[in-house]
Assembly symmetry: C2
Homo-oligomer: 110 residues x 2
């Protein structure tokens, strides 16, 4: 049976996959950060401006985690002043349509 | 501008919607419980069997939260022995395709 046929007939919940997905989106800021970067590449300072309620420490830690998970990449340019930019990876961009749908889920339960 | 046109042109991340969505799926078991109920209505004992690693206390609390969020409903039947069944609500069923996609997200980042 192909995967797609199987999907239609019976969808098998898989705890490992669920947890791999939730690590990417859980927490107050991760999904928001990813969706912002889905619109455009941003410098650290621009990201920080879009997240006024988030401390530097929390933002730095969330960005590091998302880079580690392979959702986005960090590029540092040797300029004066130094420039650091964040961009979605290919996998991050692949996930973007689903990630945007999670926000739509909020409309159902809001 | 219609909603769908707006969506295509620029997707606006919305922290309130994101958080309303994350409450439904966050935690180790919520999404798994919802996906199991997406297949069929289950008695409490059947749910409990599908979640062998979860304590009665945690399961009861997660079920109560999901009922409170409007994702599923609890029906108690006055039989001997008493029967309690959990079923997705209409909203829960509406959300199901997106919730299943979250699991697919796990395949991208696994």
């Amino acid at each position: 049976m192909t995967n797609s046929t199987r999907n239609e007939l019976s969808f098998e919940p898989d705890l490992l996959l669920i947890n791999a997905a939730l690590v990417v989106v859980s927490g107050k800021w991760r999904l928001y950060i990813i969706l912002i970067l889905g619109e455009q590449t941003l410098r650290y300072s621009q990201l920080s401006e879009r997240l006024p309620g988030v401390s530097e420490k929390v933002l730095a830690s969330e960005l590091k985690a998302l880079v580690g998970l392979g959702v986005m990449k960090r590029e540092a340019f040797a300029e004066i002043p130094p420039r650091v930019e964040y961009t979605l990876t290919e996998r991050g961009r692949l996930a973007l349509p689903i990630l945007r749908q999670i926000q739509q889920l909020g409309q159902i339960f809001n």
